[in-house]
């Protein structure tokens, strides 16, 4: 751009003149009025319903977590290990911007039972409680911008050059001394500006909603919104430049239209599903049955091939040697509690292995899909948008990991208390099964709470994808400028 104006002394206002003409022409077009109105209406519907859902969920989640934390304390006097069996529930927080992009939230479990001996999967997936028609996708701010915005831009811009060429005005325009690059920039500004008009209601509502949000709860909200705006801006510009480039290079408007709509359909509908299938092939993930069967088998046979029973036997023998006793019951500690805690710890290794590998597989699938974004810019955008909205795998993983840490803490503290209390109670007692603990004891386990990852973690995960998106933008810009230097003045 800077170079173009250096080499060409024509006044920069040329671009402004072209842009103003394009802007006015687009606004007067009946197609624009219709599509912009429909898009604005859908955006408002989507944001309103998204906000209503988000608010209802957030309230429900906070209430349920509070109730469940109280239920843990008020579960009634019982043996501490029984209390660990009674356990607690971890309820997933809504992403701070999930009213805009609900991401994978309908497809992840949002409550997780934390109990002794078992690491559970998050269950209660909203999609399972919804009609099959929801599989067409959810209408929310993000999907509208991802799917409809490019089409709006294509509709507004496919005839930008091809139409003028067909009408013969392009030849006339060029005879006026406008440079090819100036024409391209002018049209980009004019049509881009008109497209923005359709999105402005969304921005207004978004801002209003943000103002209503409690920003103190999520200090990185501003950064998230800023990066989101940049990403969607880049995405819109990619389609704007591609549209103008294709319109400049292809002869007739109908050809430009069919090529662009074809690319849009490929990019928005075909590519994501294809990328998902490819990622499943490259990084296969187990079904529930396979996952559970493998994990249960490993709990018995040991990950390292040494059966858990043998490991435990060795541990007890070493302990007996250390204290110089012949029977585990003679150890100076409450053996059942020790045994439960030790077996729990052997399981941790197995749980970590299986749950981490499941998580890593999902992450690897998603990263591969982002990388396949070299074919369709919507792929990295979708991922990053979910990440920034707080409704992605990263946020879900933080939640499940927090729940597992809490579960381990809860079990360890209860077993530890049992072990210690039993010794306090009976000296070396083996009949402490009847020992009961009360609310005061249960309170040594803090209430469950967790903090979602902050925007730095999100950017670390999705920085590559965002980089790809901006690479697309540069490529699209390059293509548009190349097309500007090459376009023909006449149809043939």
């Amino acid at each position: 751009m800077a170079e173009a104006s250096l080499t060409r002394p024509s006044p920069p206002s040329m671009i402004g003149i072209v842009a103003r003409k394009e802007f006015t022409e687009t606004l007067r077009d009946g197609r624009f009025k219709w599509t912009a109105a429909i898009m604005a209406l859908l955006l408002l519907t989507a944001l309103a319903s998204g906000w209503q859902r988000y608010a209802a969920y957030a309230e429900m989640q906070a209430a349920a977590q509070g109730t469940s934390n109280t239920q843990w304390l008020k579960q009634g006097d019982k043996n501490p290990h029984s209390a660990a069996h009674y356990g607690n529930y971890a309820f997933k927080q809504a992403g701070s911007l999930s009213f805009f992009d609900s991401g994978i939230e309908p497809y992840t479990g949002n409550l997780l039972f934390m109990e002794a001996h078992k690491q559970n999967l998050a269950i209660s997936r909203p999609a399972n409680d919804m009609s099959a028609v929801t599989r067409f996708g959810e209408i929310n701010g993000a999907t509208i911008l991802q799917i409809l915005m490019p089409l709006l831009i294509i509709f507004l811009g496919f005839a930008a050059f091809a139409g003028e060429r067909e009408r013969g005005t392009l030849r006339q325009l060029m005879s006026m001394g406008v440079s090819r690059q100036e024409l391209m920039w002018g049209k980009a500004l004019g049509i881009g500006g008109a497209a923005m008009l359709a999105i402005v209601p969304c921005l207004a509502v978004g801002t209003a909603v943000l103002a209503a949000l409690d920003v103190s709860a999520a200090p990185d909200l501003g950064a998230r919104v800023g990066v989101l705006a940049l990403a969607y801006g880049a995405y819109g510009l990619i389609f704007l430049f591609l549209t103008l480039g294709v319109s400049a290079l292809l002869g007739a408007p109908r050809n430009a239209l069919i090529v662009l709509v074809g690319f849009w359909a490929f990019s928005v509908f075909l590519a994501p599903k294809t990328a998902a299938e490819i990622s499943k092939l490259v990084h296969p993930s187990p079904s529930l049955g396979e996952f559970q069967a493998e994990m249960k088998a490993d709990q018995v046979r040991g990950l390292d091939g040494v059966p858990t029973a043998a490991k435990f036997g060795k541990y007890v023998r070493e302990l007996m040697a250390q204290y110089n006793v012949e029977s585990p019951m003679k150890l100076p500690m409450y053996f059942p509690a020790l045994r439960m805690q030790k077996l729990e710890e052997f399981d941790h290794v197995v749980f970590d292995h299986h749950y981490n590998s499941l998580r890593d597989t999902y992450m690897a699938q998603r990263r591969l899909q982002d990388a396949l974004g070299v074919f369709a810019p919507v792929l990295p955008l979708t991922s990053a948008s979910m990440g920034l909205a707080g409704s992605d795998l990263l946020h879900h993983d933080t939640y499940t990991q927090a729940a597992e840490s809490h579960r381990r803490l809860m079990v360890e503290r209860m077993n530890g208390y049992l072990s210690k209390a039993a010794v306090d109670l009976n000296g070396v007692s083996n009949s402490s099964n009847y020992m009961t603990a009360d609310e005061e004891v249960f309170a040594i386990v803090p209430p469950f709470a967790y903090a979602p990852p902050d925007v730095r973690a999100v950017l670390a995960e999705y920085g590559g994808g965002l980089g790809l998106l901006f690479a697309w933008l540069l490529a699209a810009l390059g293509f548009a400028l190349f097309a500007a230097s090459r376009f023909r003045l006449d149809v043939r």
Binding site: I123, M130, A132, I139, K273, S287, G289
Partner: protein, 491 residues
Amino acid sequence: MYATIVGHETRVLAKTPALVWVLLLLIAAVVFGAWSASNTVARNSAGGQAIGGYEQSLRDRMRADLAKYEAKVKASGGTLEFAAVNHAPGEGPPQATNAGAVGSETAAYAVLPPTALAALSIGQSDINLAYIPVNMRNVVDVTKENEIENPVNLKTGGFDVAFVVIFLMPIFILAMSYDLLSSEKERGTLAMVLAHPISLAKFMASKLISRLVVMIAVVLAFGLGAVAATGGDLANADTLVRLALWFGATVLYCLFWFALAVLVNARGAGSATNGIVLAGSWLLFVVVVPTLVSLLATTLYPAPSRFDFTTAAREAQTKAEFERMQALDQYYYDHLELVPDGDKKANDFLTLAMANSAAVEKAVLPLYQRFQAQLDAQEATVARFQYLSPAIMMQRAMNDIAGTGPGRYAHFMDQVFAFHRAWQEFFTAKFLKREPLTTADYDRIPRFSYAEESLGAVLGRLAPSLIGLLLVVAGLTTAAFAGLRRYRVAG
């Protein structure tokens, strides 16, 4: 005359490289769709086999313990004894004799087998668990698990033949017919043709037939081939009927899009305008209306809160534990015939757990049933509004035909609930009477076998969608050809 134009059109289509590529792409998509969907089907089956096999192996080991114990008892001339439930196995009878332990600690998997056409439409089969672990836990706990899959992929949705048919095929149809008339008019060949003794309607019909034949041949031949190649058994009556329905629904859906293209072309606008109107219509019918209907259904009949449900179940659990003695009394009261002799207050951990579990189930069952009720209400709403979009009608039809929709799953779950009752009755009766299990009893443990729903039931669900599609197509075609009568070739 028809033959002449159809032949000519086919020749022209064959000589248009872009369309040939589009068709090849469609073929590739159908094959890829059938193949990748069959992977999902296989993945689900493998899951059921893995975990079902694992649980069966646990019971087999218990049965082997029991056989050894029986032999020992027989050799010593004693009687079989009932083992107590405890964590640490020791001397005496094995746990395998304790019906409560066997029924609780192992599960029998109720498996929903895929239909032969499952690969045609993934439907809800990637989120609904096709193998339910049935044991002594209450019905709420038994049904709480979901099939797992990367949520990112669940959001994107599977690439199956239904996706190709519902989403892609219309794009290809519109790509080859958005300029059906407008291009002939723009090229000037329309006037050349209509200077001959042929009517516009007939000319149009012939053009449509050639495209329809190409489209149907590709989708049906390759869809079928792919299903057969990926292991679908196509040779029984049930499958053949489903296949015929799939053919019918697909042809109707094709016709809808062709008729829409004719209707838009009959307005007489240029190719670019037709392209915009048709691309917009596609977006409207395939994306916007379905998502709006989805929003409507889930807003009108939202699922009850699983959170409230869970905390309520907790409340009931705490209450049951507080009142454990009363609960136990209540439980025995309900099963008086089962109270063991001389053991009126069996304060056994397992009995208590089972009693508590039953108490929780009783307390939350009305809430639990509301989930299904709301889901049914959502589906009913969708059924009412499905006529607004052929894509919704088609999705429902495809899922029902492939047996991956909510209807067949509900039919399966009813059988799971019945099986769950049978399982509980079998083990509870023996456990509460403290009757030791024998190896012969192991052979009488209830087994689940899925009874396929009747074709009549499937047809009953399909009928509104298919008839709706038929009526819409008929209406649209009539309107389109009526529109042609007003078409102006010149002036």
